[in-house]
Symmetry: C2
Subunit: 381 residues, 2 copies
Amino acid sequence: MTGEYVPGLEGVPATRSNISFVDGKAGVLEYRGIPIDQLAESSTFLETSFLLIFAHLPIKEELLNYEAEVLSHRRIKYRIRDMIKSFPESGRPMVALQCCIAALGMYYPVNEGTIKEEHTYESTIRLMAKLPTMVATFHQMRLGNDPLTPRDDLGHSANFLYMLTGKEPDPRIARIFEVCLMLHAEHTVNASTFSALVTGSTLADPYTVITSAAGTLSGPLHGGANEEVMAMLREIGTIERVRPYIEDRLSRKQKIMGIGHRVYKVKDPRAIILQNLAVELFDKFGHSRLYDIAVEVERVCEELIGSKGLYPNVDFYSGLVYDKLGIPPDLYTPVFAIARVAGWLAHWHEQLADNRIFRPTQVYTGKHDVEYTPVSLRSYA
Amino acid sequence: MTGEYVPGLEGVPATRSNISFVDGKAGVLEYRGIPIDQLAESSTFLETSFLLIFAHLPIKEELLNYEAEVLSHRRIKYRIRDMIKSFPESGRPMVALQCCIAALGMYYPVNEGTIKEEHTYESTIRLMAKLPTMVATFHQMRLGNDPLTPRDDLGHSANFLYMLTGKEPDPRIARIFEVCLMLHAEHTVNASTFSALVTGSTLADPYTVITSAAGTLSGPLHGGANEEVMAMLREIGTIERVRPYIEDRLSRKQKIMGIGHRVYKVKDPRAIILQNLAVELFDKFGHSRLYDIAVEVERVCEELIGSKGLYPNVDFYSGLVYDKLGIPPDLYTPVFAIARVAGWLAHWHEQLADNRIFRPTQVYTGKHDVEYTPVSLRSYA
């Protein structure tokens, strides 16, 4: 064995990577070395995804080509729609998404035992393009509507919001959503990304790799925190009840949803950007009681526990933004997946470039040489 | 960071476990301390799965109850059948299986954020019971047949073979298949089991966990070796061509499919059991040219590379057995999954009992403080 057993492999290096970097003490997040705030200010989600996946900012021809390819692959096969029709309306959208992603592997088979370059490029385009359509299609169908066909005159974010809600969004709304996707596109080796590496290391097909990552994201300890923030804000209900609620939680040593982060000891740089977006959104498109409550939660938390390095994280404001955009809470994690698929694909490409199957070992704590006894001779110990 | 970076985490302990143990030098495999050959001799697949999952051999009442529960959950919902109808006939069965497993999570939702004991038991029963039905249903449907309803008068293995082939198997055939399932039920922390731990550590629902594991198994570096053994035996074609084939491969430093194992340096104990089963099968139910070729491959390999610790592994004979049982090659990995689901579930239970989300770290090899340049200013470096 190499080294001691560390639960959750916390701090154990599992890969070499040059995709993203986090400095939790300085509040820095970089994609391929570029600070996240510069990207949020000036880039687009598709450009950022290209940067993450192909390791450089695209020159003009590359960008136009990539955007055109993604646009032309937005549609999903009618048999995938048939599959979605067979899903129960009450099914969790995140599970529906997993099924749809996995099913792609039946339509776009990868040559036996080889993941060649054309497969990685084509499957990357398909996954970037089709996840938003899958999420919107399931959502429309569970409401009893026909799914909407992607609109080629709309960009990636605007088209998703259109397919999801049936309405063409205000361009400022689409831009805010676009920035949300960029902020969620990548964050080093968390559990979902790690599971993409593990699954990818057996040379499983790309759709299987992303299914595995999406499945891991679906766990409540990983995705889903922004849903819980919104539930908390609704539970609190009024500004006056914020302080007693926070004090009560703290006195019982319970955590405040959306406050604090495993890595960031200052305010999450993504939370700063998101808060600015939220201010802009609520200023321009109407106020929200929940937003006022959130601002008060942040104020009280900064006063009471800010000195402990517990500040709002990316999940604290993203739910508010999604809520204002008309996205239902159970789609927050699917929206996360639509963004993070860029990071998963980037890590999958990196894994394939220097692949070794994951095969850690175990500390065996069990018995040896136990004898099999026939059932007639067994009794409770 | 804790420790140095080890590619594939080889030899790095990722969990404490008392489920199975392998001694590759002595050729020992134990499930909960019981040597695999005792189980293969006297146990059944369902009893062995109970042993793996619930950590003891069941007393009579437990066993009868467990068998009855699994039997009563063999059927799959008609909407799952509808879903399978939407799959393309040419789709890989392993992908179809992943979709079906994931879809279960839409029908049997787990309470938000909690995996309680009743969920782990119920979902364990469902997964043990329904995987064989899913595999057989997809296979019948891709042939254009109606799927067969599980037969309550048949045991786990006999029922699967019946659903798959439409014929009730000879009890000796069913027993041989049963032993194959037992031999494949568990094998410490390989890649698929590890991905079950990673996905499970976010408290994702059990169907998602097993989807992730099955997906990881689908990669050609993990499952699928027995398919390749059969392809090799067909390629060789005659006994006379065995020696030149092997010598040619060895001279080009290529490996011989099904010979040698990462862990076992003597003959894989499962291969010994499987070879005996194969001998029995071909003696009783008719000879096979491929089997004769396999015997010659083993003889030549033992002569030429046996001294290097390269002996037949479990995959070397399993394909021959499955072939004789009428199972098509692209179902070998789904059959592996039907067996290994027991081990995955056992490890998932163990993970939940002492859970910590997997969050390893990365060795960052990239740049810092790169400036975002607008697309108009970019050019190839």
